[in-house]
């Protein structure tokens, strides 16, 4: 039943779920975003920066798609006046909203990666597909969990575009997509360590470089731990938001 609830909330609130909307937003947009970054970075003289863009931007592009999809659901839920009246746990309907974004996220990252591999086959020559798949799934999970936490903020503020911009900018600047996390000032380095994608990108770079040993496992475990952290934060935030609404400190 959870899958059905999830699908119905997805169909009801994810407004990109039309043939054209889905194709353009989930598939074309991240690819165009990737191409744009690659074209711009062509003029960069530093080979490391260029390599970062080529390898990391597919994940960032897909993360903006996932964030847009998740956050709009929380916005439209308020806009449509959906008042959940349940005898099940309030977290049931909350997490049902997330499930269908997992295949979305995986698809979006995969399409961007395929373009990256097509454009730069040498960069992926040593990559093993199963370990790469683990990276894609782990990062999809952690990005969705992070977005679910941002969804609580969207639901409270009843605005989604500013939250989307802030969330995307944070992921772009602090997770090592372009700027290595080692070069961030110490406080930002701490923030970086608890953001989704940071550890996943480290694992991914190891996969691309042909390593898949202990370092890879540690990074993937860290990425999934961060995901778990956001599952807990999002759940606690949602329950707190409901309590605030119930006590009339926020509109019902």
């Amino acid at each position: 039943m959870f899958f059905r609830t999830s699908y119905l909330s997805f169909k009801g609130l994810f407004l990109w779920l039309t043939p054209w909307g889905y194709f353009s937003s989930v598939i074309v947009a991240p690819v165009l975003n990737y191409l744009l970054f690659v074209l711009i970075s062509d003029s960069v003289s530093d080979p490391n920066t260029y390599r970062s863009v080529v390898l990391n931007v597919p994940f960032y592009s897909a993360s903006t798609v996932i964030a847009g999809g998740v956050l709009q659901m929380f916005f439209y839920e308020r806009a449509f006046g959906i008042l959940e009246f349940e005898s099940k746990s309030p977290l049931y309907a909350f997490w049902a909203k997330s499930l269908c974004h997992l295949p979305n996220g995986i698809l979006s990252i995969t399409v961007s990666l395929l373009i990256a591999v097509w454009l730069h086959p040498d960069a992926y020559a040593a990559t093993k597909v199963p370990t790469l798949a683990v990276c894609v799934i782990a990062m999809s999970i952690s990005i969705i969990a992070f977005c679910m936490m941002l969804g609580v903020v969207v639901s409270a503020l009843e605005e989604w575009l500013p939250v989307l911009s802030l969330g995307s900018a944070t992921l772009f600047l602090l997770t090592g997509v372009l700027i290595p996390t080692s070069s961030l000032p110490q406080p930002l380095g701490v923030v970086s360590a608890v953001l989704p994608m940071t550890h996943g990108l480290i694992a991914y770079r190891q996969v691309v470089d042909g390593f898949s040993g202990e370092g890879f496992s540690t990074s993937i475990t860290s990425e999934l731990t961060v995901a778990m952290l956001y599952v807990i934060l999002a759940s606690a935030g949602w329950l707190a938001l409901r309590r605030l609404r119930r006590s009339s400190r926020l509109p019902l």
Binding site: G12, F80, E84, E86, S87, R246, S248, R249
Partner: protein, 318 residues
Amino acid sequence: MTAIFCEDLKHEYVERKTGRRRQSLAGISIAVPRGAIFGLLGPNGAGKTTSVRIFTTLLKASGGAARVLDLDVNRSGREIRSRIGVAFGGDKGFFGRLTGRQNLEYFGSLYGLSRSTLGVQIDRVLGIMELNSRADGKVATYSIGMKQRLHLARALLADPEVVFLDEPTVGLDPEIAQILRQHIQRLKAAGKTIFLTTHYMLEADQLCDQISIICNGRVVASGAPAQLKSGFGRLKVIECLLRELDKARLERVRTFEGVASVDVEERSSFPCAKVFCDESIDTSTVVEGFGKENLLGSPTVRTQTLEEAYLDIVRKSQ
């Protein structure tokens, strides 16, 4: 046996814009017997929807006690929600891109019903609300009347013992509103307790066994519709169609002993004075008060309507 009960129920909130504390319920007491249709009437902002939200455990009361099916609303929220249904009227509250059936499936899944039970229940409530033929159409294409019926269908999904209906016929054309009222009466016949808020006095008069009128967060009158209509000892209304309105005479009639109030409205381009008075007042006294020569036709005597009683009560309490 009481299905819904509250005593000295209070609700306060902080206004977002001004930061001021506002009281939406100033201590109301209500007792609704099982199997009855109870109507909560009142002007906009009186506290009707707040009361419904507290009873349905969506809002927390600031003070007092409230029980539904003998369960405390603050402590047994989940159990209460599993045994009641609620229909918030209006155009919103559904996924427009989903069909009526899919909407019911979604909301039903939150009740914890199994898929097979839910399927049976959805067919049942769609049948009750006569929505079968449009069940697989997108809700965005539904008329307001169909959405209202879908709200009611949603409220009945888990076969609840108590049904809360917040302005269920608002914005409906008279024919659809009448059909909905018939559905509400059928629910009562099936043993359900109905808690209804409405602005329509005719609806309350037609449906309710008990009524409370709420104004500024306080219950200002309670009783059966007949009791309210004859409230404050006023049992009749004398209507006099006048050639012209003589204000001095009007004021004099207002001072007659036994006359509670006199309203004037225009009828067929002539002023019509409605004298609300008790049985001790004789029609001829009123006629003389306005002047026999000033009357068009004979005065009519009738009992007060619920709307007149309501307006009088609300006016006095404001």
